[in-house]
Assembly symmetry: C2
Homo-oligomer: 288 residues x 2
Amino acid sequence: MSEARAETTIGNSEFDRDTALVPRGPGVHDAELSAGWTIFGAVNGGYLLALAGRALAEALPHPDPFTVTAHYLTASRPGPARIRTDVVRTGRTMSTGQASLVQFAEDGSEVERLRVIAGYGDLGALPGDVRTSAKPPSMPPYEECLGTRDASGASDEVAAMLGTTEIAGRLDVRLDPETSGWALGKPSGRGGMRGWLGLADGRAPDPLALLLAVDALPPTAFDLGLSGWVPTIELTAHIRARPAPGPLRVAITTRNLAGGFLEEDAEVWDSADRLVAQSRQLARAPRG
Amino acid sequence: MSEARAETTIGNSEFDRDTALVPRGPGVHDAELSAGWTIFGAVNGGYLLALAGRALAEALPHPDPFTVTAHYLTASRPGPARIRTDVVRTGRTMSTGQASLVQFAEDGSEVERLRVIAGYGDLGALPGDVRTSAKPPSMPPYEECLGTRDASGASDEVAAMLGTTEIAGRLDVRLDPETSGWALGKPSGRGGMRGWLGLADGRAPDPLALLLAVDALPPTAFDLGLSGWVPTIELTAHIRARPAPGPLRVAITTRNLAGGFLEEDAEVWDSADRLVAQSRQLARAPRG
């Protein structure tokens, strides 16, 4: 991956600065949605999930997201936002909370962007047993995968997409060539997307960054030969372990494109071969 | 499956009577949690999801659940319950709502059992395209699968479990013999559960019954050689099409048992070979 810069740490990185919260009152934080995390000009859903996740970590007695569901109500835009959190229940090992992220109309009224419900716990307190039968995704080494920032040979459509996709500068994505044919006009048709993923400035992954990671690769719809915007209706992520430092591997699959909707199932594996996150989202299929 | 009784229809069945709602005010319904849907004496999570789903269908302008997430906060018991719904957003093709199901402590105070957030739409209005690449689960015909109500040869532990599992009388479950070895003390260790599923009184499936179906089979933990209660923390179900009449096929898999938690991924297929529901839940792994 990119060389980690000496000054980049968890807490001091692009991702941390762009998810910073300003306390405004009990259960209320202000935030600034950064233009650095947009795709097609809209703010990335994983970045929004991480922002809400950070606010919930402030509100709940447990530090780590275990299961987070977001419903994306309206398209977020770069600029000011406010996050309200409510504690639903606190227990000994887990607590449950809700969050609502709003932005502001021209007349100052609030427009809700996403509604979140989440269960939090302490990943560090879990027993060490691992009986995972899933296998890490099979893909070539990082050096043999293709950077999304390298648009040489890409179709005009893909180049135009990358031009409005600021997030490409914040992430270090290297796609398995088997799932990147779409960029050259040759999608595999299988509905998969696999790649190495890191933050471009070298910040190590943590549970909040995993909320970003589950929605950071190009949509599987591209590998199905569809193009255009794939708006997420709902996304649920399970964070199962603190990730080890180093690059993540993300594999996303779509098996049920029907009736104008599709699911995207993501797995995130860390450098220690641990399945650290699983997610599923329901999205509208592009018409293209 | 069981012969459908002439008088059993959608709207007039055990499932419909046991999910009946009594309006109590704007966005408030009373319900009676039936002892008929308990497992180990606790009320089944899919039944609770269907009950909340019915209340949300009353509250929202769209009829069908598209994506429903429930966080199970405390264990529900048979008896009176109240469901409050809130409309989060209404749009042209979809609307979003929340629900809270509570029961009552001895002093009359409310204890919240589950918190739900859901997106609703109109399954009948979706385009007819189906590009599903998933395949229906491979399992023997209904007649060659094993009824959970037939406990002959079952271990004492399984027989005891069935004795406190009233839901076995409400459902017609026939398990694939490959995933029912646990009942005879010989779990496969693979973490799968597959079976035919219907309502015992012959009521045809509908979207609400699919919310029940995703959590109706025995837990995959049994096939992993674990026994005991597998409490659901969170369950998200996507309903993708109205099911055709006739028996459902349900396949559930667990691939990540680690740190004291496991996921259960369910697929529900209808008699027309359509993938009508997908779900994932995060549950605590039994210690056994």
